[in-house]
Amino acid sequence: MSEQDQPRLHNLPFRRRLVHFLGSMDLAITLLLTLAIASVIGTVLQQNQPYTDYVIKFGPFWFEVFEQLGLYDVYSALWFLAILALLVISTSVCVVRNAPSMIRDIWQLRTQIQKKSLKLMQHHAEWSAPQTVSALTPIYQQQLKAQGFRSRLTEKNGAVLISAMRGGMNRLGYLFTHIAIVVICLGGLMDSNLPLKIAEWQGKLQIETRDLAIRDIPANSRLPVSDLAFRGSVSIPEGRGAEVAFLPVRDGYLLQALPFRIEVEDFRIEHYANGQPKSFESDLLIHDPERATPLAETISVNHPLIYREHAIYQASFGDGGSKLSIEAWPLDTRMGQQPVSLETKVFANSELIWGDTTLRLEMTSFRPFNINADPTEDDPDNLRNFGPSIGYKLRAPTGEAREYENYMLPVTRDGREFYLSGVRNSPAEQFAYLYLPVDENGGLDKFVAFSGALHDADKTKRVANTMMLDALSVLPDKDPQLEASLQLTLETLIAMFMRGGFDEVRNFVENELPEAERDNLAPAYLGMLREMLARMYFTEVVPEANPEDPEQVQFLQDAVDAMGSLPRYGSPVFLKLNDFEHIQSTGLQIAKAPGKNTVYFGCLLLVIGVFLLFYLPQRRMWLWLEADGNETSVLMAGTSNRNSREFNAVFARQKQLLVGANGNSAEPQTT
């Protein structure tokens, strides 16, 4: 299209040259490919992630560079939009330049064509027919018509030219495809966030990056109800409502006001038989000042609600602050001896006074059921439902927090029941699990009593004393010094145990005792400790029980193990979930796209256009009839702008028909 006038290009005025450049095919193709390549970036580099992630990924220097290049949101980066704009301009110019000739081409039958140029055409044929020109022309025109050709007669001095065409709409295809590109891009522009960008440059808008409550979000980060396009999301707990949406912008967000209030009555997840989610549904109530009664609608994935140009989609879900009633069982006497009950909910924080430090209890999650592999075994295949669980963090004044995961129902190990609580110091770690033995009446009383007893100095003294006396009773005469030291040792052992479990004692032996004595002292110390623990249990916790009773011995064993790992557990309480009310929240995406219909119209044009271009070849035929006595010598020629190969057959057949045609029958007889 653009080559013919190449030579005299340089002596054109600049404006013409610019226009020419913009409309040039070379530019078009370059742009198409540039756009393709540029688009790759955004697919290999995940877009609109938290900026901290990018910093970690690229390091501060490259992070900075990439940010300047707008690579974290390529598709709204200036340079990318510029390429698009160029494409649109180029296409427009191209259309504007080609439109006149194309439109003419749709109708014009090329009646002023010369005989010699017909002869030069790749497809041409000559024959002479036994009729006069005037007799022949209606027959031929009839014939051409039968094959869908529009034709016109023109007198050429002495001769008659029949010019025929079919498929002129092919040129329309060109116009449609290219106009479509422009229309689509403009529609897309209407729905882009360009206005926001501009407002931001003008300083009218401030991207909010802090995590604030809605009411605290400053005015210059808020967008009023308007006709502009937006695409945001909001998460609403069941039974609550919202009249705003959060628009993610780079590493922050803006707050978009809605002309109505969305209330969420209920959120449901349906499951297939195999446990896979089958549908996510929300029952919505739209409260609109313009409506007498609120509009009730249920939306689900693939079935959004379109209301006043706003489309409301089911996008995600989460916990909406489930109500939890919890019993905090003391594992440390400084927390008291009796469980304290605590009403809280997910995402709520509460204080926990532990001796002289205050811990902050942050409820992070609730799960109504846990169908997962046994968290304490490696075998991933034996899936079980472990019932409800809560997740929370205990944050020390210093700021670092431990993460806990407690299951509501006891789990069974070798026929004994335990309350399970996982703990870890960072999300990166695996949970380490604490097993608290459940007593006969299904509670923790016995364990807590035991732990209480061990924390109790007097009881420890008393038990140590009796044990010491029993031990030394075998000696012939009393040795107060020995008594005192043994008494002290026993008490210290318990203290150590409470401080760091059996390991503490072992370390002590390792580090404090002389080399020579270790080997026979270590077992002795551990033996004494175990004896102490047993005596403590049978005298202070279950005085009436029979020390031989295997049940009791077993429980003692489990309790001791649990006590031993408590120092590593790092929490002064065990939070036992007693009851809950599951409240979910639904994640809605809310979008407004005024350009949508424009884009769809463009798409329609594009499809029609492309099919016209490819599948409606524009074919022209000419018949040059000259009287030759009472016969007529016929020159036939034809062109097609597509499928020249097929045109061979078409032309040949057309010729056959015309030659075969005589006065009697104007109907084509098929061969």
């Binding site: 697919t43 695409r231 297939y272 195999n274 693939n302 996008a315 078409v650």
Partner: protein, 381 residues
């Protein structure tokens, strides 16, 4: 599709074909209207019309459809409502249960590939005709397999049923079948049996992948659909896409053929093989035709995708990797078409470009699912 000689060929009895389709449509509607919403009904009608045209221009397609329907219906008969029949009914177990049918498809495609090349090598029209027959058989089994699988998904459980173009395993079968149909059409249209082997190569590759995917990952298990995929758009978006992918793949393989012929011709213009092969200009022409076809359908598919996205993700365009790669593919072929139409390029460079195009397409089709994360919820490898 405005070729006159073709309309002539089929003009003879094109009255019974539309009639048959009409009856079939009515029958389907009669049996399933309870479960068909307005969209699905229109899809049904559009499908019937499309098949009507196809059969009109391409008589062989009628017989293909008829055989597929016959086989599928008998499979349904044999199944009844009992999925386990697949193990204990002879015909199902060895022929008609979707997995069996698909095994036949795979075997036949591989056989066809070999036969075509054998024909090319021995210069035997007879072998090449056999190749065509095998390809038809493979396509028929493939299509039947998909149809029967469709029924099987419904037998898995009331709420599970879905159209089997919903995961990577299924679309690979779709790819093989559609590409084969496209090739068979052009073969019939231009009498180019010589190109069969080349096109069948890419189909065989797909077959190998699909077999690997099945044996290594049990990808053939029928899994219920995730909510995002439960939409009637699936029924048109995916097939349209694969007509695109199929045409592009075919164009690339024809490009390979072009380069080979061209290369041999440079070395030895009178080489018998070069004589036997279709003329370069014909190959080049078919390559253009199939890219044009691909571009047209890929345009439609991408637009349908946008319409679906507008309904599922809250926007007709999200620059999600899959979307974006569709755009990249599309732009690439738009550029290709311009080069050819307006700058009149053809031959070797365009052939190479078509081959490069296949890799771009392949990435859009597979690479995105393998390497990039996005909203598209199916077929992570």
């Amino acid at each position: 599709m405005t070729s006159t000689e073709l309309t002539q060929k089929s003009a003879r009895f094109n009255w019974w074909w539309p009639l048959l389709l009409l009856l079939a449509t009515i029958g389907i509607f009669y049996f399933y209207h309870a479960t068909l919403d307005v969209y699905e009904t229109s899809i049904l009608i559009i499908t019937a019309i499309a098949m009507g045209f196809l059969g009109y221009f391409w008589p062989a397609f009628r017989w293909h459809s008829i055989v597929v329907s016959a086989l599928s219906l008998s499979a349904l008969q044999l199944y009844g409502v009992d999925l386990s029949r697949a193990e204990n009914n002879f015909l199902l177990q060895y022929l008609l249960a979707s997995q069996s049918a698909l095994m036949w498809m795979s075997a036949l495609f591989l056989a066809a590939t070999v036969t075509y090349f054998a024909g090319l090598w021995r210069r035997s029209d007879y072998l090449e005709k056999i190749g065509t027959v095998l390809t038809w058989a493979a396509t028929t089994f493939g299509m039947t397999g998909l149809m029967v699988r469709w029924r099987e998904t419904h037998m898995m459980g009331e709420d599970i049923g879905y159209i089997p173009v919903s995961n990577l395993y299924e679309v690979f079968i779709l790819f093989a079948v559609i590409t084969a149909l496209l090739y068979l059409y052009y073969e019939h249209r231009y009498q180019t049996r010589k190109l069969g082997g080349f096109v069948l190569l890419v189909i065989s590759a797909a077959v190998f992948f699909q077999l690997w995917y099945m044996f290594e990952r049990n990808a053939d298990e029928i899994q219920p659909l995730v909510p995002a995929l439960q939409s009637y758009w699936m029924k048109i978006h995916v097939p349209a896409n694969f007509i695109g992918y199929g045409s592009f793949a075919m164009a690339a393989m024809i490009g390979v053929a072009y380069l080979l012929v061209n290369w041999r011709q440079q070395k030895n213009p009178t080489s018998a093989w070069v004589q036997a092969m279709p003329s370069l200009s014909l190959i080049d022409d078919v390559m253009y035709k199939s890219i044009a076809l691909g571009f047209a359908f890929f345009t439609v598919a991408t637009i349908l995708g946008a319409l679906w996205a507008a309904e599922a993700w809250g926007g007709y365009w999200s620059w999600d990797p899959k979307e974006t790669w569709a755009l990249i593919v599309w732009l690439n072929y738009a550029a290709w078409l311009h080069m050819r139409m307006t700058k009149g390029w053809s031959g070797v460079p365009m052939a190479w470009w078509a081959i490069v195009g296949l890799f771009v397409t392949l990435f859009a089709f597979l690479g995105v699912n393998m390497f990039l994360s996005g909203l598209h919820s199916y077929g992570t490898l």
